[in-house]
């Protein structure tokens, strides 16, 4: 309940800054439109690249954008900031986890920006409607929901662990940037992993990143014939990342120097 209250307060704070909402609308449209335009230019007169048609690219990047609001975020930066300037002190005194608190708080601006982006995404969908040949399979709904949920947990655990690194390195933004770049390459945010070189594709199987966005979107697009195997692998990564997170937190808090008052 306390974290839901955190979410509500963060939502109230978002509403205080109305100008930001307009910006989210613009950002919501620019991201997928840019990527779709790039791939349209690459495709030219060809019908597909690696099995991906123009319509598949539209759907891929629209869901990637929408999925980022559901699953993604950047709360590692907030955790890192709180450790760096000592803001974490007040949470260490209370029965309150800064990790869950920052995660809950982030859901507020993600929800706000997602709602504001929806009309922009709908506009992109409308403009590109001529290319789209995709239909939703109701039987896949449970797998989609589960894979998105597990993807969100994997993402949150990585973000939390990166944030906690501030106990050692003080400034975590290079690590957060590294996470973004890695997600773009190995997580399929830049391009569908199926279009990457075979060697890179083989590496991605052993990393958690493809299970955050790429595999759930694969299930949405109907490209994954064995969704259960995705859920299974996500489960393994969740266990491993959770254990890593706990170890890093316990070691980090021991070396914390309590900066500031």
């Amino acid at each position: 309940m306390k974290y839901f209250r955190t979410f509500l307060f963060a939502l109230q704070t978002e509403m205080q800054y109305r100008a930001n909402l307009v910006m989210w609308f613009v950002v919501g449209a620019i991201g997928p439109l840019t990527m779709v335009m790039v791939w349209f230019a690459i495709l030219g007169e060809r019908s597909d690249i690696g099995g991906y048609t123009k319509g598949d690219f539209v759907i891929y990047y629209l869901f990637m954008t929408f999925g980022w609001y559901l699953v993604g975020g950047e709360f590692s930066r907030q955790i890192g900031h709180a450790i760096r300037n000592g803001e974490i002190n007040k949470t260490l005194l209370k029965p309150y986890s800064i990790v869950i608190g920052e995660w809950a708080s982030e859901q507020a601006w993600k929800l706000t920006s997602m709602l504001v982006s929806l009309p922009a995404l709908a506009l992109v969908l409308y403009l590109m409607r001529g290319y789209i040949d995709w239909s939703f399979v109701p039987g896949q709904a449970i797998w989609i929901a589960m894979s998105l949920f597990f993807g969100a947990i994997i993402f949150a655990l990585i973000q939390a662990t990166i944030g906690i690194l501030a106990f050692w390195v003080t400034e975590i933004w290079p690590f957060a940037e590294m996470m973004d770049v890695t997600l773009h390459l190995f997580g399929g945010m830049l391009a569908p992993i199926a279009l990457l070189p075979q060697a890179v594709q083989r590496v991605t199987v052993w990393l958690p990143f493809r299970y955050i966005f790429f595999e759930p979107i694969n299930i949405i697009l109907g490209n994954q014939s064995d969704p259960m195997s995705v859920i299974y692998k996500q489960g393994i990564f969740i266990v491993v990342l959770y254990l890593l997170h706990v170890v890093v937190w316990k070691a980090g808090i021991r070396r914390y120097e309590g900066i500031g008052g």
């Binding site: 309940m1 306390k2 209250r5 955190t6 307060f9 109230q12 704070t13 205080q16 000592g86 803001e87 002190n89 007040k90 260490l92 005194l93 209370k94 029965p95 309150y96 808090i253 021991r254 914390y256 120097e257 309590g258 500031g260 008052g261």
Partner: protein, 326 residues
Amino acid sequence: MSDNLVIEVNNLSKQFSVAEKAEGFGASVKSLFNRKYKIVKAVDKISFNISEGEMVGFLGPNGAGKTTTLKMLTGILYPSGGEVKVLGYTPTDRIEAFQKQISMVMGQKNQLWWDLPPTDGFLMNKEIYQIPSLEYKATLAELVEILDIRDVLSTPVRKMSLGQRMKCELIASLLHKPKLLFLDEPTIGLDVATQKRVREFLRRINREYNTTIILTSHNMEDVQAVCDRIIMVDHGHKVYDGSIANLISSYATDKYLQVDFEKEVPKKELQKIGRVVEYDGWKAVIAVPRKGHAKKAAELLTKFEIDNLDIQEVKLEDIMLKHFSK
């Protein structure tokens, strides 16, 4: 005050590893490849006990180890050595039952939500500490009444004055009725009237709820008004633990004679009586040895035409200054 120990500290130590770097660009490049560290002992084998209901001032200059000690007592920092038990718990275990019995107000940090009214922050603490609704309402009403802050409860925190914010911070910290309240520079930046109100408030919650209060402050008026006992630390060591009166009688070898003259008196004449601390011709403060101060006062009365004479104890502030500027 009871004899129930709420804080037991034995040989508590904390050391930090601090990176060293000489000035200049070259030194920055060098430190990229060969960084040197030095060990700083922030707290060095401090021991003390505090009983339930005590009001204790932690005094010392900047960097003496006051705040570091407080952070170890509240579980923010792990000690490098020694033992600490607070309310029977090891603070760094961060057990919920322990955290629900303590609170800390940091004069330079906010716990309230910057963009929202303080009442939202209070509600957050209600959830965090799982305070029953009826108890929450009653405690909030009482604290708001005592601190006279009703008018600003719907104002966003960022638009409040420092004094209003500090009062709200105090309310937020006390909603769950902690047994132990830690205050780190609670009156920093506050105007005189608000400082007075905060001190009165602290005395009142101690009296009414038997709350144990541990205070660090550079403001000696805070300490004298609130604390029964002080612990002085310097360079991580405990240098005094006892009552303020005892400190003054054992550290202050002088007494102050504050004199108003009928007519102007040359400073040279006063220097024959004692050390002139303040002087403007018509008024002076003269420090004389504690032993025999009455004789010196009599000498003043016979030698000069005096309008008023006060014999004063040396101020706590002066003792601190004298001790820590050695």
